[in-house]
C-alpha cells in the first residue's frame, strides 16, 4: 500500500541548514529562494507529490521545526 505524506515547516524557526533536504529519500525538499525573518532560506516541499511521510527530515532536523502527516492511498 502506498503512502502519501506532507510536511509543515515552522518557517520562522527554520535555519536553512539543508540537513533535511540532504536526507529526504524522495527529493521532495529544497531550500526556498525566499528568506524568513532571520534571513535563512527556509525548507519547503519543492516536489510535494513525492513525499511519502517517512519522517526522515523531521528526525534529523536539529531545530525540530518539521511536522509530518501521512495517509494510506
Amino acid at each position: 500500500m502506498a503512502m502519501k505524506g506532507a510536511i509543515v515547516v515552522d518557517i520562522e524557526k527554520c535555519k536553512g541548514c539543508g540537513v533535511c533536504v540532504a536526507n529526504c529519500p524522495t527529493e521532495t525538499l529544497a531550500l526556498h529562494k525566499e528568506v524568513n525573518g532571520k534571513g535563512y532560506n527556509y525548507s519547503y516541499m519543492a516536489n510535494p507529490d513525492t513525499c511519502t511521510g517517512c519522517t526522515n527530515c523531521a528526525v534529523v532536523c536539529p531545530d525540530t521545526v518539521i511536522t509530518v502527516y501521512r495517509v494510506r492511498v
Binding site: G16, P62, T64, V73
Partner: protein, 257 residues
C-alpha cells in the same frame, strides 16, 4: 490520483511532531549543529519514558551551556568540566531520579578529564552524554584533545602535528576498561538511521540506571560546522569520512540487560 495537501495535513494523519518536553524557545545553536538533534532525541526519550518529573540534567560549559532553556526538565549547570561531580552529588541525594550530564569534548576530555575518569572509577549510577565535535565550538574553534591528526583549527592553523600536539584522546575506549562503567557506546546523528540508533542507545542508558550497574557513557560523534568552516551538509560528510575512522561507531562495552 494526486491528493491535495490540505487533505493530508489533518490531525488524524499526524505522524511526527515536536515533543512537548522541548520548549518553544528557538535554539541558539548554529544552523545544522548536532547539539539540537541530540537535545531532541533526549527530549523524546524523556517523553516516551514518562519521566519528565524524574530526570535531572547537568549542562556543561560550552555551546550547550544553555541546554536548560530547551528541555522542560530540572537542570543544574556545572562549572567547566565538573558536570560529573555535580551529577554524582545529585544522584546520591536523589537515587530515584534519572541523572545525566551533557558535555562537549572541550568540557569532558580537557578541563574535566579528572571528573569524568573518577566518576567512572567510582561507578556513579549516572548517564553521560558526550558530544565530540573535535574542537572547542563556543570559544572559536580551538584545538581540543579530541582534534584529529592534521585537522586545522584556530589554534592549529597548519593542522594538528602529533609530534608536538599529541594524539586524539579516546575517552570512551579509556573508560570502558573501568569496572564502574556498565555501558559505553559511540553513535552519531547525521542521518535518520544514525539518529534513531543513537536514540535507542540513550534510552537504554537511561533505563539502565534502574539496574544500578554503574555509569553509562554515550559518545555522539558530532559536527561543529561553524568551527570547521563548512556548510552543515558538508560537515556531516566530512565527519563520516574523517571522524568515523578515528572514532568508530558502535558499542564498546555493554553490561546492561
Amino acid at each position: 490520483m494526486i491528493m491535495d495537501i490540505k487533505d493530508i495535513i489533518k490531525p488524524e494523519n499526524l505522524v511526527y511532531q515536536k515533543t512537548s518536553v522541548l520548549t518553544d524557545n528557538a535554539m541558539h545553536y548554529c544552523p545544522g549543529c548536532s547539539h539540537g538533534t541530540v537535545h531532541k532525541l533526549i527530549a523524546e526519550i524523556i517523553d516516551e519514558m514518562g519521566i519528565q518529573d524524574k530526570v535531572i540534567g547537568v549542562s556543561p560549559v560550552g555551546c550547550a551551556v544553555l541546554a536548560y532553556n530547551y528541555l522542560e526538565i530540572d537542570w543544574q549547570q556545572a562549572a567547566h568540566g565538573r558536570a560529573p561531580a555535580l551529577a554524582t552529588a545529585t544522584k546520591r541525594l536523589y537515587p530515584n531520579k534519572y541523572v545525566f550530564t551533557y558535555q562537549g569534548d572541550g568540557d569532558l576530555a580537557s578541563i574535566g578529564t579528572a571528573e569524568i575518569i573518577h566518576a567512572c572509577s567510582r561507578g556513579e549510577n549516572i548517564t553521560v552524554i558526550f558530544i565530540n565535535n573535535g574542537i572547542y565550538g563556543m570559544t572559536g574553534g580551538q584545538m581540543a584533545p579530541t582534534t584529529l591528526p592534521g585537522m586545522k583549527t584556530s589554534t592549529s592553523p597548519y593542522g594538528r602535528d602529533t609530534s608536538t600536539m599529541g594524539f586524539p584522546l579516546k575517552i570512551a575506549d579509556m573508560i570502558a576498561m573501568l569496572p564502574g562503567v556498565c555501558y559505553v557506546t559511540r553513535q552519531s546523528v547525521q542521518t535518520p538511521v544514525a539518529a534513531r540508533k543513537a536514540k535507542r542507545a540513550i534510552a537504554k542508558a537511561f533505563r539502565g540506571q534502574e539496574q544500578c550497574k554503574g555509569l553509562s557513557f554515550i559518545e555522539i560523534v558530532s559536527t561543529c560546522n561553524s568551527g570547521w568552516k563548512m556548510t552543515p551538509v558538508d560537515a556531516n560528510k566530512w565527519m563520516e569520512e574523517h571522524m568515523f575512522p578515528e572514532y568508530p561507531l558502535g558499542d564498546i562495552k555493554d553490561y546492561l540487560q
